[in-house]
């Protein structure tokens, strides 16, 4: 069709493109310019002492858990441990804001969140000990398998939340990911699906400044990671990730919003990875000590302890009790992890398919024979 064939040559006033209806207002989707804070601000007064004390106990326990797990790598009891030391406020708040029926989707760094949600710490550490992959039944505490391929757990969270909503269940999924993980295509696709489907999901990005050795500035040029939200049509929230009360508050709001059908939220928690990437990493190769030192001053436990003591909600006894509880947890964990896990090599073939194929039965027989020969050899 050429222009001459167009219907009507009547006087013509250009108009805006017909599809252009003003869409969603972007303003409420944009994060505040500064991370939201509670501790040491007037907002703190609005928080119940019970919640703050609960958070405190969990932070102390979480810090001790991180230290214990790291120690276990040195004793050869864990193959590897990616510590969340310094990030305990995020880990703990993520667990605490959820109801029992909700689902948590942790990344490989988030064993602490899983433990804070009630998972047996030994089961949570199975992957990192190396006797099996996922050491727990995900349905028991509604904790998805700890996820190593970065960002791939995010679409899972969206699909699960969507499925729950289709089934009429008011279940919320909270998915955790690192700053590095936000660069993956799966992050993008998950957030887009979530917003289009208005799925009840909360995405918690722990921006701890690094993806192994790569600092945030090489990861993104965005004003903040929370600013990514507007591109999906969901609200982006920025929070001080070391302020447990603030993280708890922002996540609670997002969870409540999701639960009442308001759709997904992207939360960026600004925090810092105090330890190296894992025990196997050498952080001195890529960052200086002064940065770490500055963040130690902004320690999540210290922030909360200060708030609690100044308001008379915590005294020496309380501090000691929290430390003792954490110590007891660590001792139990140490003891249990010191026992060798029971291994059955035949498990290799037990769960590949619902029904073992003839091919795998053959291979299982081969291994059984090899093991028998080995045992005989040992017997000799």
């Amino acid at each position: 069709m050429t222009v001459q064939e167009l219907p009507g040559a009547a006087p013509y006033r250009p108009t805006p493109p017909p599809a252009w209806k003003p869409r969603t207002d972007p303003a409420p989707l944009l994060p505040d310019p500064e991370p939201y804070r509670v501790l040491g601000t007037d907002a703190a007064a609005g928080f119940s002492p019970e919640l703050l004390r609960r958070l405190y106990a969990e932070l102390v326990r979480g810090r001790r858990y991180n230290a214990q797990a790291t120690a276990l790598t040195k004793q050869g009891r864990l193959a590897v441990y990616p510590s969340s030391t310094g990030q305990e406020a995020c880990e703990v708040a993520a667990a605490l804001v959820l109801e029992d029926r909700d689902w948590l989707f942790p990344s490989y760094r988030d064993t602490l969140a899983a433990v804070a949600r009630g998972l047996d710490p030994v089961q949570a550490l199975t992957l990192l000990r190396g006797d099996w992959h996922t050491g727990y039944d995900p349905h028991e505490h509604r904790v998805a398998p700890l996820c190593t391929p970065l960002a791939t757990q995010l679409p899972h969270a969206v699909g699960l939340a969507h499925a729950a909503r289709l089934k009429g269940d008011d279940v919320v999924a909270l998915a955790m990911v690192g700053d590095g993980g936000t660069s993956e295509g799966d992050f993008h696709e998950a957030l887009n699906f979530a917003a289009v489907w208005q799925a009840p999901v909360v995405f918690l990005v722990q921006n701890n400044g690094f993806a192994i050795s790569v600092p945030l500035a090489k990861q993104t040029a965005a004003p903040s990671l929370a600013h990514k939200a507007v591109g999906y049509g969901m609200p982006g929230r920025l929070v001080d990730g070391n302020d447990a009360a603030a993280v708890h508050h922002v996540l609670s709001e997002a969870v409540a919003r999701a639960r009442r059908g308001g759709g997904p939220t992207l939360v960026e928690a600004v925090t810092y990875r105090i330890e190296a990437h894992t025990n196997a990493d050498d952080a001195t190769r890529y960052r200086g000590d002064s940065e770490v030192q500055a963040w130690r001053e902004h320690d999540p436990i210290r922030l909360l302890e200060q708030e609690l003591t100044e308001r008379g909600l915590l005294d020496e006894t309380g501090i000691r009790q929290a430390a003792e509880a954490a110590e007891a947890m660590a001792a139990r964990l140490r003891e249990r992890m010191n026992a060798d896990p029971e291994l059955d090599p035949m498990d290799l073939f037990a769960h590949v398919y619902a029904e073992q194929t003839a091919q795998l039965r053959e291979q299982a027989e081969q291994l059984r024979a090899e093991l028998a020969a080995e045992a005989e050899g040992d017997g000799r």
């Binding site: 992959h133 039944d137 899972h156 699960l160 999924a173 498990d347 194929t357």
Partner: protein
């Protein structure tokens, strides 16, 4: 096989009917993919499902294959049975990580606690005049991935029966649909109770005692035609339709090869690193002393899929199959 109430149907219609019946029987079956809803899919395989079951059961997704498969994983985690459509073979590649690192391993990783009853429907293969990236044969990738079932129908009845079985399976199934057979027709009635085919059984489509053609999906009609033509040369070719690449039916295949003593594997996929290598190797391992000649392979060439105007030179046709049969060292016979 009863023909009561049988009517001509295309493979696409049989596939549609399989999803429809599964959705009607089981509310946890959900279909999702690009254009599967309102449009009914670019091949119309999901035609009418959104209308009958609503958009929540048959959902047009955003255009992002990793997102489609990834959200399907999450849906399966919550107890649904997602049936995912990938629009074309090559457009399943963006979902590769989700398939390999999650779909195939979730059951194993969780000691059975979190099975993945999920079907990934992939239209595959060439012969339809598609431009690049629309005619890949990607089965080698899926076969090499433990934890997946890989199934491909070659007949209208199997399209229905195997897709029902795939949807009913508690394990993930990559369901490869031969594009160029979508419009193949057969008299077929979906009301037979025996319609659901168990996954993992090959079938002898034509009996013969000279040699065995081992094939599947788009190459079955080629092999049947070759077998017919071979009669003129005095060869009675047996044709085995694998139907399931994983699990592999060693029994049926090896029984045939032991009877005939000769075999040719025929598929569209590139030869090198393709399914034929595995098949030839396992048949040889099991039937070595019955073999009068090495198991030969007839396949697409080891090249990127050609443009439409050249694809006929790439695709294994009747002549190429007969050439291979002729090379089965018949002199040994005499």
């Amino acid at each position: 096989m009863t023909t009561v109430a049988a009517k001509p149907a295309t493979m696409a219609q049989a596939l549609q009917r399989a999803m429809r019946d599964a959705m009607a029987e089981d509310p946890s079956v959900h279909v999702l993919g690009e254009d599967v809803g309102t449009l009914g899919g670019v091949f119309r395989v999901t035609d009418g499902l959104a209308k009958e079951f609503g958009e929540d059961r048959c959902t047009d997704t955003p255009l992002a294959e990793a997102g489609i498969l990834g959200t399907a994983v999450g849906m399966a985690m919550y107890g649904l049975r997602p049936v995912v459509e990938m629009q074309f073979d090559a457009f399943a590649y963006p979902a590769f990580e989700q398939l390999i690192s999650h779909v195939s391993r979730m059951r194993n990783r969780t000691r059975g606690a979190m099975p993945m009853p999920l079907v990934v429907r992939v239209p595959y293969g060439g012969g339809i005049g598609g431009v690049e990236h629309h005619s890949d044969s990607s089965e080698a990738y899926y076969m090499a991935t433990p934890g997946l079932h890989v199934v491909t129908p070659a007949t209208v009845a199997d399209a229905y029966g195997l897709l029902r079985a795939a949807i009913a399976s508690d394990d993930p199934v990559v369901f490869l649909e031969p594009k160029r057979l979508y419009w193949s027709k057969a008299d077929w009635s979906p009301d037979r109770p025996e319609a659901v085919e168990p996954i993992g059984r090959a079938v002898v489509r034509r009996a013969g005692r000279s040699a065995t053609l081992i094939t599947y999906g788009p190459s079955l009609p080629v092999c049947l035609e070759a077998a017919e033509a071979a009669r003129a040369e005095g060869w009675e070719l047996e044709v085995v339709d694998l139907r399931s690449l994983v699990p592999f039916d060693d029994e049926t295949v090896c029984a045939s090869v032991r009877r005939t003593g000769r075999a040719v594997v025929v598929h569209e996929s590139a030869g090198f690193g393709g399914p034929g290598g595995e098949i030839a190797a396992r048949v040889t391992e099991r039937c070595f002393h019955h073999l009068e000649a090495p198991v030969l392979r007839v396949s697409g060439f080891d090249i990127p899929y050609p443009p439409p105007m050249l694809e006929r030179h790439h695709l294994p046709g009747v002549d190429r199959v007969l050439d291979a049969v002729a090379r089965l060292q018949w002199e040994a016979e005499s």
